[in-house]
């Protein structure tokens, strides 16, 4: 398993962002003694006065009081308090369980619902342009080299309450490039949105696909067997490359020449880069499991339209699934059995389930709707809430840092007008690392939330190699 980094205190962001916010490197979160969810009766005094030393963006501790809080990894709190400071959650509990000193700004959210910011494991906003038509496998391509941080798609993402997204290239290739996990901070460059690992590298996965999307004229495969053969061949090359790197460690003159694509695949082989695998049909799902076993790579199954047919096999392989529900099945042969109960069946089989927007297939602004439709078709309420928060975070190796409202996690949360599964509920505010990035009352934000003239100047996503009527 890849190490996780709850100790990466400021939750990522480039050095430039840290400087802009005045976040000193190594600035500590106050009240580290607070752990777990506070319960009724236990009163804890949070004193921030002693720890506020340097000027920084979220210097003032904020307490959101009175809302129904859905922490996700703990029982719902009917009337709660959420305290955030310096981009982190410092307390969660029933209203009145935390004694707040005068340094804390108190925000009344009575009657509202507060839950973690949503996590979307599969998104295409930002004007993506990944692999081109030259090769069915292009692990060298990084999606973040194509993204426009000013794309209005990002504004719709925060309007929907999404705070962490995995932006991926399309599915027209067996392997269409490296994905990027983004935090929806307000940024001037795409770097400002990165989530960094312990070594300071931007985190992301690898996008792969099988089935009909990646089958076409040469040099692409035209059968499923050839698809698998091409993937195996490239992974074997990566294994050999990795062995050569290991043999020549410490002897730079003997090391193989750098190969950007094989380097990315070595990260996959070593488990530090997760494969996000588009797959629809039951037999294609099983093929992914077969390849993942052969090369021992970590994989998340995406879409999984016929997952309901092989739920037990997926559960036995202990592979998580990120599911999409669209308003009707079909669009192509292999998605004709895409049914609303897929998520419920996978959940019953014991599979970890997340949902994804696949934006622009479905709109990020109505992401919660998908979880609600999962409930409509038999998924548990708790499972559906996890599927748009913590489970998605875990599929991005971010489960220790975000995805639930618990102490020391990133202060990523949303304020809703009502129950998350009601069609009438609105996302009122979206907060990322203690900063408000969406406010429905702000006319500029509202324009993106409901649409209107000037809302839609998106960059066009580049989905390589599709014919008409094909899709992700």
């Amino acid at each position: 398993m890849r190490p996780t980094h709850a100790d990466d205190v400021d939750g990522g962001g480039t050095e430039a962002v840290r400087r802009r916010r005045g976040l000193g490197v190594g600035s500590a979160v106050s009240c580290l003694e607070l752990e777990g969810v506070l319960t009724h009766g236990s009163k804890v005094l949070l004193s921030f006065l002693a720890t506020v030393a340097v000027a920084q963006a979220q210097t003032t501790p904020l307490a959101f009081e009175g809302a129904r809080i859905l922490p996700i990894d703990a029982p719902d709190i009917d009337s709660g308090v959420l305290v955030v400071h310096r981009g982190k959650i410092v307390a969660v509990g029933p209203a009145g369980s935390v004694l707040l000193d005068e340094s804390v700004q108190r925000i009344d959210v009575t009657g509202k619902v507060v839950m973690p910011g949503l996590v979307c494991t599969h998104n295409h906003v930002g004007g993506i342009g990944g692999a081109d038509s030259s090769d069915p496998l292009q692990p060298d391509v990084r999606i973040f080299d194509s993204l426009n941080v000013r794309d209005p798609g990002f504004r719709r993402v925060v309007a929907g309450g999404l705070t962490t997204i995995n932006v991926m290239p399309g599915s027209g290739h067996l392997l269409s490039g490296q994905t990027i996990y983004l935090k929806m901070r307000r940024g001037d460059t795409i770097e400002d949105l990165y989530i960094l690992d312990a070594a300071g590298r931007p985190m992301g996965g690898l996008k792969m696909a099988n089935g009909t999307n990646s089958m076409r004229e040469k040099p692409f495969p035209s059968t499923r067997a050839k698809s698998a053969a091409l993937v195996r061949d490239r992974f074997i090359k990566a294994q050999e490359y990795r062995e050569k790197l290991a043999r020549t460690a410490g002897q730079p003159e003997k090391a193989p020449p750098r190969d950007l694509g094989l380097e990315a695949l070595v990260e996959v082989l070593e488990g530090s880069r997760i494969v996000h695998h588009h797959t629809h049909r039951a037999d294609d799902i099983i093929t992914v499991l077969r390849l993942a076993k052969e090369f021992n790579f970590r994989v998340v199954l995406h879409h999984v339209s016929e997952g309901w047919k092989v739920a037990e096999e997926i559960a036995r392989a202990d592979v998580p699934c990120s599911v999409i529900l669209v308003d009707s099945p079909g669009g192509k042969l292999e998605a004709a059995n895409l049914l609303f109960p897929t998520a419920a069946i996978l959940e019953k089989a014991g599979v970890k389930v997340a949902f994804h927007t696949d934006d622009w297939i479905t709109d990020s602004r109505i992401f919660l709707r998908m979880a609600a439709l999962g409930v409509r078709a038999g998924m548990s309420r708790e499972g559906a809430l996890q599927a748009v928060t913590l489970s998605g975070a875990e599929m991005l190796d971010l489960g220790e840092r975000l995805g639930s409202l618990s102490v020391s996690k990133d202060a990523d949360f949303i304020v809703l007008s009502g129950d998350p599964f009601s069609v009438y509920t609105k996302v009122l505010e979206t907060w990322v690392e203690g900063e408000k990035v969406f406010d429905r009352e702000d006319p500029a934000d509202r324009l993106h939330a409901v649409g209107g003239y000037g809302a839609g100047d998106d960059s066009e996503p580049y989905f390589c190699c599709f014919g008409q009527g094909e899709h992700d």
Partner: protein, 409 residues
């Protein structure tokens, strides 16, 4: 896992897999609320269906369930939903050439294409939308050519189109949008100006054709021309011209065309209608508003969730539709579109009307469908809660008094 798990799967899948047959019976429906759409909602009401039609409707105290009738119970009962514009039955689930009959691309103007010659009543998507309460659809040739063909109104029942059809030709479908432009060199139309010029020329031709067909001497009359005949019916106002236009400038072009030839116009999609509300209202034109959840993209990049509410507030007749996209989803469901419209300013009653009685009136079929009134067709949708809530289920659907769906969806 094992046997128990498989049983659980079967339970979850029940009714989601298509292929359920219809059940014919004399039926009465009891509802905690009956939304008749013809007067106030009836709490604790009963609807009696006899021989395919609505025989009685009223409070449980005044309307009894007849002896021997099958009884269905529901929290909320509504009229069968009327989708004001879609393409189900012409466009199929697989999205392969063999099941895509909604758009003929061989010429830009083909009003002679009839919807009845292209509709497959056994298409899976027909059953899909029906399972969410939709019982009537205005379907036919899709936007995408300057004049793509005819549309019709069908009930989502019957094995043949003849059994399903309510209105054989409901409208002629035209498109004022770059999607109907040709990109190849030398092909027309290639611009907005050319699109309007070609439409105007064709209506002038149709007017001349009508005049010549009136000539006393038979040998001076031109031979029948199916396309011009259809446009002649539009010129005589027997049929509306339905124009799909999204940009405000294209909406205004449609109004200009309708004024010049004195056409009955239905505006379709109309993503930027909110910019030209006064003009639409002055023209007295109804709007079949795009699905609220259409992707904000291309010509529709500035669409707004609030358009249905804004048009309705201005007094413009509206109806809601499932629409047409050549991508996924292959069809949307008007029930869900109406729900999001309610979340964005339309009242519950206005939204339900936009997919029942108002839609039926717009389409000219309100004598048969769209409300729960004695004498109308026995088309009902049953729900176990607020029909618009995501977690509510459509528990049963009846068409012509027959149960066509009775698993919760």
């Amino acid at each position: 896992m094992g046997r128990c798990f498989r049983e659980a799967i079967r339970t979850l899948l029940a009714g989601w897999i298509v292929g359920a047959g219809t059940v014919s019976a004399q039926v009465a429906v009891r509802g905690s609320v009956i939304r008749t759409m013809a007067g106030p909602a009836i709490p604790n009401g009963v609807v009696v269906l006899r021989d395919g039609r609505i025989a009685e409707v009223g409070p449980a105290g005044t309307v009894a369930v007849p002896e021997g009738f099958r009884v269905l119970d529901a929290e909320v009962v509504t009229p069968g939903l009327v989708d004001a514009h879609g393409i189900v039955g012409l466009s199929g689930i697989f999205n392969h050439p063999h099941d895509q009959d909604q758009l003929e691309r061989s010429a830009p103007i083909q009003p002679e294409l009839r919807a009845i010659d292209a509709y497959n009543p056994n298409e899976q998507l027909v059953e899909w939308v029906r399972s969410f309460g939709v019982t009537t659809v205005h379907t036919g040739h899709a936007p995408g050519e300057l004049i793509s063909g005819q549309t019709m109104v069908v009930k989502l029942a019957g094995r043949t189109v003849e059994q399903a059809v309510l209105v054989e030709t409901a409208a002629v479908s035209a498109t004022l949008s770059p999607v109907a432009q040709k990109k190849e060199k030398g092909q027309s139309p290639g611009t907005r100006g050319k699109m309007m010029a070609m439409l105007r020329q064709q209506f002038i031709k149709a007017r001349e054709y009508l005049e010549k067909r009136q000539q006393a001497e038979e040998d001076k009359r031109p031979g029948r021309d199916l396309g011009l005949e259809l446009l002649g019916r539009v010129l005589r106002r027997e049929l509306p011209l339905m124009v799909t236009a999204d940009r405000a400038q294209d909406i205004v072009s449609a109004l200009r065309l309708a004024k010049e030839f004195d056409l009955r116009l239905w505006l379709d999609s109309a993503a930027e209608a909110y910019l030209v509300i006064d003009e639409i209202k002055a023209a007295g034109v109804p709007v079949i508003v795009h699905p609220v959840m259409y992707r904000a993209w291309g010509e529709r990049r500035n669409l707004s969730y609030e358009t249905p509410a804004k048009l309705r507030q201005a007094g413009i007749p509206i109806a809601l539709q499932s629409g047409y996209e050549d991508y996924v989803p292959k069809t949307r469901v008007v029930l869900f579109e109406a729900g999001l419209a309610v979340a964005n300013g339309l009242s519950f009653d206005e939204a339900l009307a936009a997919i029942t009685i108002d839609s039926a009136r717009l389409l000219g079929v309100a004598d048969r469908v769209g409300s729960i009134e004695v004498g109308k067709d026995g088309d009902l949708a049953l729900f176990d809660g607020d029909p618009f809530e995501y977690t509510t289920h459509c528990t049963a659907v009846l068409i012509n008094g027959e149960i066509v769906s009775e698993k919760p969806h």
